[in-house]
């Protein structure tokens, strides 16, 4: 690679020095990547942005800039904000469904608990009646009947 200019320097028609900040992230084998980023942000802004970042974060930054630039080129009005808006709408829809399903579960649970309570009451009555048969019948049934009216 005798004249190994990066895609950025090739596009900008300038010499690509050894310390070129753009060359690691805009290799010559993918010229379109820099073209997209340049169209939306400009070389100067991209350079300034990358210079402000620590070296180990620059690759991620370059990737995210490329993604956003692509989104903006495909949708000049909303760019990637359109994607955010769409995701928010989907999330709202799924949340509504989840709340609705949870409410249905709560209803089913309470219906089941009511059923259990109703099944428990006759057993208690029978138990008391059997006890009253075995023991002194005089006072106990009165107390029972007054409790279950």
């Amino acid at each position: 690679m005798s004249s190994g200019r990066c895609a950025a320097c090739r596009y900008l028609r300038r010499k690509c020095t050894q310390g070129c900040i753009l060359s690691p992230y805009f290799p010559s084998n993918n010229p379109q990547r820099f073209v997209s980023v340049h169209r939306i942000y400009g070389a100067s802004n991209v350079t300034k942005l990358l210079q402000l970042l620590p070296t180990h974060l620059r690759a991620e930054a370059a990737d995210s800039l490329y993604f956003e630039a692509q989104c903006r080129l495909e949708d000049p009005v909303y760019g990637c904000v359109g994607l955010i808006f769409m995701l928010q709408q989907h999330i709202n829809a799924v949340e509504s469904q989840l709340v609705k399903t949870q409410a249905e579960i709560a209803v089913m649970k309470s219906q089941g608990q009511n059923r259990e309570t109703q099944q428990a009451e006759p057993d208690f009555n029978n138990l008391l009646l059997r006890q009253s048969d075995n023991e002194a019948p005089l006072s106990f049934p009165n107390q029972v009947s007054s409790g279950f009216i």
């Binding site: 939306i40 942005l49 993604f67 956003e68 009005v77 760019g79 995701l87 989840l98 579960i105 089941g112």
Partner: protein
């Protein structure tokens, strides 16, 4: 209101920042009012005036306001998070969506169980709470462990960084 009197020398925020005369056909003037200097400053810092102008020229006039607002939103996101910008917000939302879909699938299977066997109400069932993003601790039967709930809670907390409610075009 101020500003309604015709002033031939009133510059928009863009022309003020760029220190140039604001002519009547200024493409920025309708969208970058002089009382909102920060809006243009942010957009200019990230995209540059020339690029913004080219983008606005390419879109129909009736869509330029939305375009400017979305550019302002992206610029704000990029200045807050220089590494990921809006992509960070998108990633968060995608994770949130996946988590919610998972929760919904579990809730639906739970509901299907109740519907199939209405008498089957075990004492181990976790009570369902209405807030899907906060207190819904697990699916019925304890299928979702506390880790998933914590992740859901963290996503909800982190999402506030980006203040999506500010998107004007609902």
């Amino acid at each position: 209101m101020r500003g309604q009197e015709p002033r031939s020398t009133s510059s928009c925020a863009a022309c003020r920042l760029l220190k140039r005369r604001c002519n009547p056909n200024c493409i920025f003037a309708p969208y970058f009012r002089s009382d909102e200097p920060k809006k243009f400053a942010k957009v200019h810092k990230v995209f540059g005036a020339s690029n913004v102008s080219k983008i606005l020229i390419e879109v129909p006039e009736e869509q330029r306001e939305d375009t400017v607002n979305s550019l302002a939103y992206e610029a704000e996101a990029r200045l807050r998070d220089p590494v990921y910008g809006c992509i960070g917000a998108i990633a968060l939302l995608q994770r949130k969506m996946i988590q919610l879909q998972h929760d919904l699938a579990l809730a639906r299977s739970c509901l299907a169980r109740y519907t199939a066997t209405p008498s089957c109400i075990g004492s181990t069932d976790v009570p369902v709470i209405a807030d899907p993003l906060g207190d819904f601790p697990a699916g019925c039967g304890g299928s979702i462990d506390s880790f998933s709930w914590n992740l859901s809670y963290e996503l909800n907390q982190e999402a506030h960084m980006y203040d999506f409610s500010q998107i004007p075009y609902v």
